[in-house]
Structure formats: structure tokens, C-alpha cells
């Protein structure tokens, strides 16, 4: 008998800005986790929030976007370098992975991500096809 788990489960409590949309309304959901710089000061946080808002605005205008929900992760979490830092999680519903891919080639995305990248210590992006359990 082998355990299913390769590693311990990672879990976050995320306080969203708005109620969670019905995630199954989109064929595919992008889950993006943005790690802020470790020990980020107020200026760095403001800079991130502003850049994130620009990216969110671009996403909402994107073709194939179904919904966007985002919020702060409670407490500190480990980033990809193993450092404890704060983070923001976003759920983006897309018509397809291809629609998301197409968006990433647009100038609005390229501009927004260029602005956002210097304000984070890393990001993780996944696609998932979700089913509703209850």
C-alpha cells in the first residue's frame, strides 16, 4: 500500500474581494498565486496592488475570460524559494486554455505583466478543470 500523497497538502485561506463565482461556469480555471517580496514594506505592497489591478483590468477585458476572483491569502506562506511571505491568489475562468494562451500574447497582458513582475517574488500558475462536489 502506497500513500497517494507525494508531499503534504498545502492549503490557504483566501479572503476574496467578492463572493466566489460559480467556478464550473468556465470550462477551465486558471489559479494564479502571486508571492509578494519577503518583508514587503507599504510602498512595495502599494506598488504590487496597483500593478495587480492593471493586470486584473486587462484580464477582465480579455476575450474568453469568464470570471475573475482574487483575494489576499491569510497569513504568511512559503514562496518557491522557501521564504515566508504574503501572497495573493486569483481564480480566472477561461473558455479554454487556448483563450488564456491567446491573451498572454496581447500587448495589454505583456504591458501589465511587465509592470507586475518586478513587484513580486514569484508566481505560480495552474490550469484546472473543476467539478463541483457539493
Amino acid at each position: 500500500m502506497q500513500p497517494f500523497l507525494a508531499l503534504p497538502i498545502t492549503s490557504y485561506v483566501v479572503i476574496l474581494q467578492a463572493p466566489l463565482p460559480t467556478l464550473t461556469n468556465a470550462p477551465v480555471t486558471e489559479v494564479a498565486l502571486f508571492w509578494l517580496p519577503t518583508n514587503a514594506n507599504q510602498a512595495q505592497i502599494s506598488s504590487f496592488k496597483s500593478a495587480f489591478a492593471s493586470l486584473a483590468a486587462a484580464v477582465k477585458q480579455a476575450e474568453g475570460e469568464v470570471y475573475l476572483a482574487s483575494g489576499d491569502v491569510q497569513g504568511l506562506v512559503l514562496n518557491s524559494s522557501g521564504e515566508r511571505t504574503s501572497a495573493v491568489l486569483a481564480y480566472v475562468g477561461w473558455q479554454s486554455v487556448a483563450a488564456h494562451g491567446a491573451f498572454t500574447t496581447t500587448t495589454s497582458f505583456i504591458d501589465a505583466i511587465a509592470r507586475l513582475s518586478p513587484t513580486v517574488s514569484g508566481l505560480a500558475d495552474h490550469h484546472v478543470i473543476l467539478s463541483k462536489c457539493f
Binding site: Q2, L5, S11, V13, L16, T29, V31
Partner: protein
């Protein structure tokens, strides 16, 4: 142009001069200070009544504006109601063992049933579950908590994750009786 003088009640000079301008359809009273009387322009105590008027109007405007803002604010608060609490969600990533891919598909359904049973007890009202497309060995769980702020107590949250991990370990063999696997008062 006919000049008429109207002495101010509290002043010792003639102020203001009231002129009646001849107008084609009658006469239009205009008040202004005659250039010839500039030297006797009101002394401070005489200006006071006019300033009083300005101050009174200014204060009235302030009161009206303040009341206006207050009324509109209250009205909008009544219409909108209190701002809803921000919803709390659970996000969990479950890294799966690559070495059991064949058993996984069938067993995974059972695991998701167990997970659902565990998570439902924790106060989640919605639960989404799916496989990450890029690596296929990471399950993602997204849930919406019934209660918003304050969110699930950290101890309960920790317990929830522990139980999820235990349920993962218990998938092989399957628990005999899922409904009794974890009673909701467990938390």
C-alpha cells in the same frame, strides 16, 4: 438718473446709495456705492452687518451642504445595506504520488468523496475539485466557507488538513462506511 439716499440704520453715513436707473419699461433699482462717497466707505462697525449677512449665508450653506451629505449618505446606506463581509475560501493543493497512476483514477473518486465528507463538516458550503492540467499529479481543491470573517479557526483548519491527509492515506483500502467516516461534530 435719480439719486436717493437711504441712511443705514447703524451708520453715520449714507449707505448704500440707491439709484434708480431710467429704464425703457420702467425703473430698475440698482444699489452701489457712489464714487463720490468712497471716502466715507463704511467703517468696520458699519461693514459688520454686511459681513454678518455673508457669514450667515456661508453658515447656512455649510449646514445645508452638511445635511445634504448626511441625508444622501444615510439614503445610500439604507438602499445598499451594510457592506457584505468578504468571503473566505479554502484553496488546497494536493500533491499526488506519481507511482500509483493506474490505481489513481478509480480510487480518486473515492478520495474525492472522502474529501467532500471531510470538507463539508468544516463549514464549507461549496467545494470544487479538479486535476491540474499541467502536471497531472496535483489535485486542487477550492471551497467557499459558509462563514466569512472571522474565518475558520486556525486549529480547525489545521485539523481539517490533517484529516484530509489521513483520508488520503486511508484510501487504500477504502473506508467501509463513508458517512460515518468523520462526523460533523468532529470539528
Amino acid at each position: 438718473m435719480i439719486a436717493s439716499t437711504t441712511p443705514h440704520s447703524s451708520c453715520n453715513f449714507v449707505y448704500p446709495y440707491k439709484y434708480q436707473v431710467a429704464w425703457p419699461l420702467g425703473s430698475l433699482p440698482i444699489q452701489f456705492v457712489s464714487a463720490t462717497n468712497l471716502s466715507s466707505f463704511p467703517t468696520p462697525h458699519c461693514i459688520l452687518p454686511k459681513r454678518h449677512l455673508i457669514v450667515m449665508i456661508y453658515r447656512m450653506l455649510l449646514v445645508i451642504l452638511t445635511l445634504g451629505f448626511a441625508v444622501s449618505y444615510c439614503a445610500s446606506a439604507v438602499v445598499k445595506g451594510p457592506s457584505p463581509p468578504r468571503p473566505a475560501t479554502l484553496y488546497a493543493s494536493v500533491p499526488l504520488n506519481d507511482s500509483i497512476p493506474i490505481a489513481f483514477t478509480a480510487k480518486n473518486k473515492e478520495w474525492s468523496r472522502i474529501s467532500a465528507a471531510v470538507l463539508k463538516c468544516s463549514g464549507l458550503t461549496e467545494l470544487y475539485y479538479g486535476r491540474q492540467l499541467e502536471t497531472s499529479n496535483l489535485d486542487l481543491i477550492i471551497g467557499q466557507y459558509r462563514n466569512s470573517e472571522p474565518t475558520l479557526h486556525p486549529n480547525s483548519h489545521r485539523q481539517l488538513i490533517n484529516d484530509l491527509q489521513l483520508s488520503h492515506l486511508r484510501v487504500l483500502p477504502l473506508p467501509a462506511n463513508l458517512p460515518s467516516y468523520l462526523p460533523c461534530n468532529h470539528f
